[in-house]
């Protein structure tokens, strides 16, 4: 009964108001490359590009920072997109034959991409071809004519319909049926065969009344819509794939299913034309695949470009994804790693220009966007400032570093530039430059680190809307893998015809799964980092501005600590390359520690000030002094009965059994839910159903989905997995002396706290003397509910998290309060608890699972700044649950503040990938290639803020929309943005809406608080977690005793003298 007390507590109006000023939930922007793109469009006038996806999302990109997102109501594939040039409007065709007109509009001070009109083709089943009425079913192509006022729709039936675009209504009486066209075709071509679907419609740049129609059978017609007559007819006999009309209108190029393309002269007088002037099969003579699209671009030099996709020799290279670029005698076959969706050239579209003069070629692939500079000899690829394929190798972990110092930022940038030397023309060659980014230069720089399956760590500029790649660190070079031979072989084979050129960076194939990066930690002040991987490798690296050749010291650490009876059945450890190795400028390895057994590293933490790195696997944890290159501590966390941990990740029998079980469950579930749906009928049906159920209760659900209710036992499998590690300068032994400590939490709810003896640095030097570091077990806490410990953090006397290493000593953060009593926050998968230090006793707690039935997946301490008051901020605990909800709790009171639905609970990979930032933002993967950025803070919001000059011909005025795509209404992946605990907006005006037109509030919003943010430690605490009653073993009774312990006692002896406090 007393439980309900806390619900009533929420009534404090002042606190409610403060909460509104601190917390707000928005999904702000999607970073990365759209998942499953299906359509591409480019507006040469505004220089903006649109990408449509199979889930019905529309994304418009311009200059970096200019982004618009929309989502069709029906999750249908976007098959075509066409910009109304210069109008900021785009017409989309979905695979359900509906047309949608999207506009970049402005209302309520917020502008965003909005669906203005939709048109559903009337389907007339049964009338196809039989009656004179042609059906509009199955639109195959769309062409905008007359500056976008009218659209021509080609259909599968061969008819062409005309549509008034401003209203999206069908223009009756203008429809062009295939019969009308056939009338102008000679009899011997007709021979009773249909023309087939309309494959291509092309407009003329200068004469909008003329349309070039290509039918599937091969017939090409230049149709004059004003005169309603066929001006020219080309009697092609090869199945048509696409058509391109040269800008002068004198030449027509058609591509065909046999891998050939044909050039037709349109300026000769004889009509119909029976033969093309040239017909070539570029990759002949053997059978080739179809050329899906062909473009013909003229140049003043007279050497025109022919760009086409496909057409590869079927037998030898039929599986390649290629686009060929041919100019005069130069042919390059661009070889991509994923399917080609579409491509366009950026060229002059002004009617007065005589030539196309293409500047760039943009190719949209299934997994990335590649842009080539066609004006620079060699056609180099232009690095994309956004739309980077995050998943060029699968993302295995991610971390966010906030407030990166300018010096480190510049060093990382320069390392990245050395890696990818920019072409001379530089960033200016990025051709998609529409719109203006109105967002202020971010006042603080955020770095997103992603670890990948291939052993690389990528550094991304996450300060703004455009997620820009900065630098790529590869750890594979340190290890001997057998992939190198394969690479050289492949290269040797590629010198032949066709002239392949590998383009793009999407490479889904991992060389060796052991290289996969599991955990990353970066010290932003010393530019030192730790990268830990799947085979138990822990690599300490340091940023160096010059290339170097050096050997890497290798140490191995046995975490089993001579436990008997275990055999590791998993993978071997990686064998490092010995001897001096060349390292380019950038992060260079300093030390390599290999855990034994080589299980995946599950937790890692770095303290650059102390020169220590701690790491944990499923077997135990270790502490390594990387300055002296010597191990300090190894501790086995295995439960004696835990045999599963030793099997390694390759226990196939187990996983097969599990997956079978799961699929059966799913089947049962779907059956059960099917039943539920049926119930939603009338009351009579309900009553009947009820009667039926009463009649035969035996066969209702023979084996229902059921869950066993049993407390977690101590010997659950993988109980020894180390879930989190943490360094803190705090009071572990007594209240008078603080000192370095290390904390480790395991899957079974155990917390180990070690007192460290780190030799103090001499005055004026940051290097600590070369003396051994000692570690002595100080305390051991067993959470009685035995849930995995997700995170540990120490709070200072004021209840604030301790600052990061160096922050306090370099005056970058407020020094922690060492006077008041410290406390340790232990977050398990089920509960949060704050314990006092040094005497461990429970201070506050919150039992999340017992109350909500959800489990903690990720937690982080974050600083939330108030929108109302410039210098007011609170440190809170942000938590993501297994249901995809985000909860925020006060610290150290652990009172629930707000909670929001963030990720669909079915989206397990999204939940697993979530990472919080220090200032109340977060990222999670909505697809393998896209991060969704969300914001829990009412002040610190990163979202598109841009403008686009558009003009609509109707009102003939140029309207400048300051477009603001804020609190995203729809999300491309269909994740509903429902706010679970909305704060009623009475009295507190939404700062976002207010600030949209005036730059000042927006500025305030966009400048994340860099001053007060420094007070919070970057405790992006770790992953997955659970907690009940605690046994605290105090290993250090009195302080004198502890002194003695520190010096003399080995760990085992310490254990013997332990006092068990219960």
């Amino acid at each position: 009964m007393m439980k309900f007390r806390f619900r009533r507590q929420g009534a404090d109006p002042q606190r409610e108001k403060l909460k509104q000023e601190l917390f707000a939930f928005h999904k702000t922007v999607e970073h990365g490359f759209p998942n499953q793109p299906s359509a591409l469009a480019f507006d040469p006038e505004l220089r903006i590009m649109a990408i449509g996806t199979r889930s019905g999302a529309v994304k418009i990109y311009g200059a970096p920072g200019v982004e618009f997102t929309g989502l069709h109501r029906d999750a249908a594939t976007v098959t075509q997109m066409h910009f109304l040039p210069g109008q900021g409007r785009v017409l989309t065709l979905l695979d359900d034959d509906s047309l949608h007109l999207w506009e970049i509009v402005h209302h309520d001070g917020c502008a965003h991409l909005e669906e203005a009109l939709r048109f559903q083709a009337p389907s007339r089943p049964g009338f196809d071809g039989a009656s004179g009425l042609p059906s509009l079913a199955h639109i195959t192509v769309v062409l905008l004519v007359a500056a976008g006022d009218m659209a021509a729709l080609g259909t599968e039936g061969g008819s062409i319909f005309f549509l008034d675009v401003p209203t999206l209504t069908l223009l009756e009486g203008q429809t062009l049926g295939p019969d009308e066209v056939l009338r102008s075709v000679p009899d011997d071509y007709r021979c009773g065969k249909a023309l087939g679907p309309v494959e291509s419609l092309q407009g003329h740049l200068r004469d909008p009344t003329k349309i070039l129609i290509g039918y599937s059978r091969g017939l090409l017609v230049i149709w004059n819509q004003a005169a309603r007559c066929a001006e020219r007819i080309f009697l092609g006999n090869q199945q048509l794939e696409s058509v391109c009309w040269e800008r002068s209108g004198h030449t027509v190029v058609s591509s065909h299913s046999d891998g050939s393309y044909a050039i037709w002269a349109a300026d000769t007088s004889d009509s119909p034309t029976a033969q093309p002037t040239v017909a070539t099969t570029p990759y002949g003579p053997f059978p080739c695949k179809a050329i899906n699209k062909v473009l013909w671009r003229t140049c003043a030099s007279g050497e025109h470009f022919v760009i086409f996709s496909g057409g590869m020799p079927r037998a030898s290279y039929g599986d390649r994804h290629c686009v060929s670029v041919l100019q005069a005698e130069t042919l390059v076959t661009l070889d991509f790693t994923s399917r080609v969706i579409d491509f366009f050239t950026v060229h002059s579209t002004r009617p007065e220009d005589e030539f196309d003069e293409p500047q760039a070629l943009a190719v949209l692939l299934e997994e990335e966007l590649v842009v080539l500079d066609l004006q620079t000899p060699g056609w180099p690829a232009v690095p994309a400032p956004y739309l980077a394929p995050l998943h060029s190798s699968a993302i295995t972990c991610s971390a966010h570093v906030a407030n990166v110092p300018a010096k480190l930022w510049a060093r990382i940038m320069s390392a990245g530039e050395q890696q990818n030397p920019q072409p001379a023309s530089g960033a200016s060659s990025w051709p998609i430059t529409g719109g203006r980014n109105l967002a202020q230069e971010p006042s603080q720089r955020g770095l997103l680190l992603t670890g990948h399956e291939d052993g690389t760590v990528r550094f991304w500029d996450a300060s703004g809307v455009a997620l820009r790649p900065l630098y790529k660190l590869s750890t594979a070079g340190l290890f001997q893998t057998d992939c190198e031979h394969a690479d050289s072989l492949a290269q040797a084979a590629e010198d032949d015809w066709p002239p392949f050129r590998k383009v793009g960076c999407f490479d889904p194939y991992s060389d060796d799964p052991r290289l996969g990066v599991q955990k990353v930690a970066l010290c932003k002040y010393t530019a030192q980092m730790v990268v830990a991987g799947t085979a138990g490798q822990v690599l300490v690296l340091e940023l160096s501005d010059a290339p170097a050749e050096q050997a890497v010291g290798v140490a191995s650490l046995d975490l089993l600590q001579d436990r008997e009876g275990f055999t590791w059945k998993g993978h071997e450890r990686l064998s490092p390359r010995l001897g001096p190795l060349p390292w380019p400028a950038g992060f260079q390895p300093r030390a390599l520690i290999q855990c034994l057994p080589p299980a995946a590293v599950t937790a890692v933490t770095l303290h650059a000030e102390w020169g220590l790195v701690a790491f944990g696997t499923s077997h135990g944890f270790g502490l390594f002094d990387y300055l002296r290159r010597s191990p300090v501590l190894a501790r086995c966390t295995l439960h004696p009965s835990d045999s599963l941990a030793m099997e390694g990740p390759l226990s196939r029998v187990k996983s097969l059994k599990k997956s079978l079980r799961q699929s059966f469950r799913r089947i049962r579930k779907s059956r059960a839910s099917g039943k539920k749906r049926m119930v939603a009928g009338s009351k009579l049906q309900e009553a009947n159903a009820q009667l039926a159920e009463q009649a035969g209760p035996q066969d209702v659900e023979v084996t229902p989905v059921q869950r066993r209710i049993e407390p977690r036992s101590a010997d659950d499998s993988l109980s020894g997995v180390v879930r989190c590690l943490y360094f803190a300068d705090t009071f572990l032994r007594d209240a008078a002396h603080h000192g370095p400590t290390m904390w480790a939490g395991t899957n079974s709810g155990s917390v180990f706290a070690y007192a460290l003896e780190v030799p103090a640095a001499a005055v004026g030097s940051e290097k600590r003397p070369e003396r051994a570091v000692e570690a002595v077990l100080g305390k051991e806490v067993q959470l009685m509910h035995r849930a995995p410990v997700v995170a540990i953090a120490v709070l200072d006397g004021r209840g604030r998290p301790l600052p990061e290493p160096y922050e306090a000593s370099r005056d970058l953060a407020q020094a922690p309060d060492m006077q008041g009593g410290h406390a340790v926050l232990i977050a398990s998968e089920e509960q949060f608890k704050v314990f006092t230090l040094p005497k461990v006793s429970a201070k506050t707690k919150f039992k999340l699972t017992a109350h909500e039935g959800c489990r903690v997946r990720k937690v982080a301490l974050a600083t939330f700044a108030s929108v109302a008051c410039e210098d007011y901020a609170e440190t809170c605990l942000a938590c993501l649950t297994n249901l995809g909800d985000v909860h925020v709790f006060s610290v150290p009171g652990l009172r629930p503040q707000v909670h929001y639905a963030c990720i669909r609970k079915e989206d397990i990979s999204g939940i697993a990938s979530c990472v919080f930032t220090r200032h109340g933002q977060g990222f999670y993967l909505i697809s393998p290639s896209e991060f969704e950025r969300f914001s829990l803070s009412a002040r610190n919001i990163t979202e598109p803020l841009c403008c686009l000059d558009v003009h609509w011909p109707r009102d003939a005025t140029r309207v400048s929309h300051r477009s603001r795509e804020s609190p995203k209404l729809n999300q491309a992946n269909g994740t509903p943005g429902i706010i679970l605990a909305p704060q009623s907006c009475d009295g507190s005006p939404d700062p976002i809406c207010k600030g949209a037109d005036t730059p000042e509030p927006a500025e305030a919003m966009l400048s994340p608080m860099s001053i007060d943010s420094a007070t919070s430690a970057d405790t992006t605490l770790d992953t997955t977690g659970d907690m009940t009653v605690e046994d605290v073993k105090d290993f250090l009774g009195s302080s004198e005793e502890s002194e003695k312990n520190l010096r003399n006692l080995s760990e085992e002896e310490a254990r013997a003298c332990a006092i068990l406090i219960k």
């Binding site: 009964m1 007393m2 439980k3 309900f4 007390r5 806390f6 059960a672 539920k676 119930v679 009351k683 309900e686 009553a687 159903a689 009820q690 159920e693 009463q694 209760p697 659900e701 229902p704 989905v705 059921q706 869950r707 066993r708 209710i709 049993e710 407390p711 977690r712 806490v781 009685m784 509910h785 849930a787 089920e830 509960q831 314990f835 006092t836 461990v840 006793s841 429970a842 201070k843 506050t844 707690k845 919150f846 039992k847 699972t849 017992a850 109350h851 909500e852 039935g853 959800c854 489990r855 249901l883 629930p896 659970d1026 009940t1028 009653v1029 605690e1030 046994d1031 605290v1032 406090i1061 219960k1062």
Partner: protein, 372 residues
């Protein structure tokens, strides 16, 4: 010695009662004021005095009318002993260090009376299983029915105590649908049900939970609107002190309240047991104590080492009694089998926390629930 059913001279006198106290082989006789027996402490001192064993810890027992050796260790059972002694109160004293706890219990004295028989036929004696029953303070509660006064009669709030025992909690839950009669007619709502009991598990051995019981609350939190997995996690998170409110599938065994103002513990409907202790204050109820534990109200300096709460020993006997009583009432079948009138679940426990007990009649009548 104990054979002597002496009708003492003074037994007939009003006010006094003869006491025969035996310590080992020695015995003392004295008399007590029947109307004012005094406190147990005084009586204990008196015994030490008359037996000349000051400062020796002893266990005090008495023979009740059925010839059972029962302990005297507090005022209640002392008064009970005095009031039922007819005519003689026979006291047995054992030194604590040599105490034979097994001596206490039913038939213990009768057995002793048959010493001769046992001597004559020793085989018979050996075959008899030797039942060891520990002292009340050694009991720990296994399960209890709580909050009977504030719940509708058709609901049952069961508390399962899971200690470090080997016995599993031992039950499974599943999704299901329950049909309710609301003002809008029949309404089918999803619910969580107990789907299976593990033989030999705690849940089964208590007899308080059964297959197809609908789970309404877990430790005071309503489960409506929560998924099966959520409810599973809630139960597991609370597994050390699990309080589940169910609507039993079998509504025939409900505890019937004859007094709405009784304490929160299930009170027996069998008033023939005069010794039944008065129900404890609601605030002393172990469930209550734990609600506090679940609460996020900050308690200062709760020492973690204190957190493993010992079983509230005062309650243990009480709880045990309740379990037995609920069985009895069940067997008696107080509610007609076709009784289906129930309040809707939504108005369940929480509303009633705030309403006073007399209002409950009203609440019970404003809705009906059909349990399938």
């Amino acid at each position: 010695m104990n054979r002597g059913h002496r009708h003492g001279a003074g037994s007939g006198c009003l006010g006094t009662m003869e006491v025969k106290s035996k310590d080992g082989t020695e015995f003392r006789r004295f008399s007590l004021e029947r109307s004012k027996p005094g406190k147990f402490e005084e009586f204990y001192g008196l015994l030490q005095h008359v037996h000349k064993i000051p400062n020796v810890d002893v266990l005090v027992g008495y023979a009740d009318i059925h010839g059972d050796l029962l302990p005297i260790n507090n005022d209640d059972n002392y008064h009970k002993a005095v009031s039922t002694a007819n005519p003689l109160l026979r006291i047995f004293i054992q030194k604590k260090e040599e105490a034979d706890y097994s001596a206490f219990g039913t038939d213990t004295l009768i057995k002793k009376k048959n010493v001769l028989t046992n001597v004559l036929r020793p085989d018979n004696h050996r075959k008899k299983p030797h039942i060891v029953i520990s002292l009340p303070q050694d009991f720990r509660p296994v399960s209890s029915i709580i909050d009977v006064d504030i719940l509708p009669e058709t609901h049952r709030r069961v508390r399962l105590y899971k200690y470090g025992t080997e016995k599993p909690l031992g039950f499974y839950i599943r999704d299901g649908a329950s049909v309710r009669v609301t003002p809008h007619g029949l309404e089918k709502v999803p619910g969580i049900f107990i789907s299976r009991l593990v033989p030999g598990g705690l849940a089964q051995s208590t007899g308080l939970l059964a297959v197809n019981d609908e789970v309404l609350e877990v430790n005071g939190i309503e489960v409506s609107g929560k998924s099966l997995d959520q409810v599973t996690d809630m139960m597991i998170a609370n597994s050390r002190n699990l309080i589940i409110t169910v609507r039993p599938a079998n509504q025939r065994n409900n505890v019937v309240r004859n007094s709405r103002t009784s304490g929160s513990s299930g009170q027996s409907t069998d008033n023939s047991l005069p010794s039944c202790a008065p129900p404890p204050e609601p605030s002393l109820e172990p469930g209550e104590e734990d609600s506090d534990d679940d609460d996020i109200v900050i308690e200062d300096s709760g020492e973690p080492r204190q957190i493993p709460r010992a079983a509230p020993s005062a309650e243990s006997l009480e709880s045990l009694t309740q379990v037995e009583l609920s069985f009895e009432s069940g067997q008696n079948g107080f509610i007609p089998a076709n009784e289906v009138s129930l309040p809707p679940v939504a108005s369940g426990a929480r509303t009633e926390f705030e309403t006073s007990a007399p209002d409950q009649k009203l609440l019970e009548e404003d809705g009906t629930v059909i349990t399938l």
